[in-house]
Assembly symmetry: C2
Homo-oligomer: 421 residues x 2
């Protein structure tokens, strides 16, 4: 496997043939790649870390999500590199390698589904699957200039997928075009017909765009224009201060407000939201893997090591409040969106950071990223990353968020809108 051809996306290149029984399976002829977090019968799932690989045995069955894609006629071309234990949104793996960002080779590809995003971005496969706990589909999609879909929490099976933090874990997918994105969705959501419905309203979270270094209009205008062309005046376009709305409607966030959440260039309620997300994530990660980490004492790369140590030290304090925040946010956003409303936010705070950037320099970027990512992350709503080409030679994107369970609606909508973007 020559690095130059493959952008370092794969950890294992080996074909798995489709098992389709019908004469015209819906994904016939399409190729895909599988993040090294999904079980494939007879293979040890690597979870991004060599010590994990060494201490685990081969899977005795294939994750249902993988099987259903093979049954739908798709061919897997291999298993992709991921961040260690899915604990990063950067995409840099110190043990294996960092997959090369196909549109910005001096920038990180984004993680933790790094190889899956790169494989699609570089055109090595038609689509790929990954997981998204805190942003692991949405971020690499944005950084690699492709579409990425994080479904509503709980609607796509996570059986046979190594858990990270179950309150947030989702299985998501990447594609270069919205047709493929939707076709894969149709299989994984088990919804054969995804028909387009007009959105009732497009809500622009104006304050959230202030967290992003890309000029607002570059991100907002393409979709606003497309909504206008696609649905005429039928879709109301509203602007709002999302942070303020969340502050008012998620009262338990007050328990996560600190001096840090009051600093400049941040939205206090979203900072508190992301603290609550990170706390529950650490707690569930510890419940899942604390024992393994303590007994095996695995070697981790920079950044990952500190993060995992922090997770292992976490107590159960405030965990009930984290769950209450989830319920309150889900209620608040469901009420805000109503039937068929969509929310527009930046996916990330800007273009992909440089490779091997200093951790401290990245801190403010990471903090703003999690403010944005925790909106769908904590509520469990579905979110799609929509690439908007290059700005100053770097990939930029915007995101749409829709109600829990409106996955088919969101995939159809983005397919519809893409005609005018």
């Amino acid at each position: 496997m020559a690095m130059s051809n493959n952008y370092g996306a794969f950890i294992e290149k080996s074909t798995i043939s489709p098992t389709a029984s019908s004469s015209c399976p819906s994904l016939k002829g399409l190729t895909f790649a599988i993040k090294d977090i999904f079980d494939v019968e007879g293979r040890v799932t690597g979870f991004g870390n060599p010590d994990w690989l060494r201490t685990h045995s081969a899977a005795t069955s294939t994750a249902p999500v993988v099987s259903s894609l093979l049954e739908a006629g798709a061919t897997s071309l291999g298993i992709t590199i991921m961040d260690e234990m899915a604990y990063s949104i950067n995409g840099e793996n110190a043990h294996y390698r960092t997959p090369v960002n196909p549109v910005a080779s001096d920038r990180v590809p984004g993680g933790s589904s790094s190889g899956s995003a790169v494989a699609v971005g570089a055109g090595l496969v038609d689509f790929s699957i990954g997981t998204d706990t805190g942003g692991s589909i949405r971020v690499p999609a944005s950084y690699c200039g492709i579409f990425g879909f994080r479904p509503s929490h709980g609607v796509v099976s996570t059986v046979g997928v190594t858990p990270m933090a179950q309150s947030f874990d989702t299985v998501g997918w990447f594609a270069r075009d919205t047709g493929t994105l939707k076709q894969v969705g149709s299989v994984l959501l088990q919804q054969p017909d995804l028909n387009a419905t007009e959105p009732s309203q497009l809500i622009i979270a104006d304050d959230c765009f202030k967290l992003c270094s890309v000029p607002r209009d570059l991100l907002v205008q393409p979709l606003v224009k497309s909504v206008d062309k696609s649905f005429g005046g039928n879709t109301v376009i509203n602007k709002m201060d999302l942070g303020e709305y969340i502050q008012e409607n998620v009262p338990s966030l007050k328990h996560f407000m600190t001096s840090e959440t009051q600093q400049e260039f941040c939205i206090p309620s979203l900072m508190a939201l992301s603290s609550s997300m990170r706390l529950l994530q650490r707690y569930e990660f510890k419940m899942n893997h604390g024992e393994w980490v303590s007994s095996v004492k695995p070697e981790f790369g920079p950044g990952i090591s500190e993060r995992i140590e922090e997770a292992i030290r976490v107590s159960g304090e405030k965990i009930d409040l984290c769950r209450l925040v989830k319920t309150q946010l889900l209620t608040a956003l469901s009420t805000l969106l109503g039937d068929n409303g969509v929310l527009m936010i930046p996916t990330v705070p800007g273009p992909p950071p440089h490779l091997q950037a200093d951790v401290v320099a990245l801190e403010s970027f990471r903090s703003r990223a999690f403010s944005l990512l925790s909106i769908a992350g904590v509520s469990g709503l579905c979110q799609v990353t929509i690439p908007l080409g290059l700005h100053e030679n770097l990939p930029i994107s915007v995101s749409l968020v829709a109600k829990h369970g409106s996955d088919g609606f969101l995939l159809s909508l983005v397919d519809c809108l893409s005609k005018f973007i």
Copy 2:
């Protein structure tokens, strides 16, 4: 303690004086009673079963909910009898005694917060606290002809309260009048000012009233008239088929549809909802108490014994789907209610059943009861039981359900409406 004076409500009569430090505490002069599920420092919490009492030691601190009532100036007059391990909505305790229903002495008082409801219904205290997992506040309130409030899931502390099933456990309270109900709410919700807001709409779940043996108009008309008198034409009154709406908007319920859910005199989606609730409840109960039950082999009364055995046998299968149903229902009902909408349903399928009724004869009643109770139970929304006097000499009630987190709104609303009921 003479049974005749106390309706058998208390398991222990002993005064705990208020600890109020302010000069004018909000619950000054009020007396209350505590379900035997709340920890009181130095006392063994009984959880309704003598073997539990025997095998547990004294609590080292008092549940914060109890402390906050004492701090607000209320005086506790004692600890009340409850159903064994909170695993019944009947109120019959074979080990201690069945508290006497103060408005229908040949009928069950309802449970599991039986003694707390009876203590209020009989006028022994001004208010009382209990818990509601599957209906343990709402049902005894209805059977004893008093107000009962089940708050939104997670908003009132359950610290120092013996758990039954955490996904559903809530701390609730009883009162004879809406002023007291609201005053207690103000303390427990930590919201000093509960101001009334007009409801935007009152949704009558027409199909749900078909599950109830009491003529529909007797339950629906008092509140409709009061809404009209209180808010003029500002509140829209809508009728709907709630079962159909839930069927369409909670797709995961299909995994809980069986031949049983298709039978006559039932609403299939609500039957499926209650199956999902009962499954997750059993699973969490087993996680909490399975080991204790297996090792101690406690003696249980009729009905309870079978129910606990069934819980101990349950596997983890479908548990993820139960949680998904919760999220989908919360989303669906939040969307339906919008801002300040309220839903009207019968609390229970009819007046309280006879004492020591045959289990088989009660099966259909129980099944319809859980169909109704699972609406707020699974979604985590708040619900208030509103007594509507006697019909054919037996107490009847209706319930209002409001959005998660709208507890203050619902308490103020019922206080407002009570003037014209």
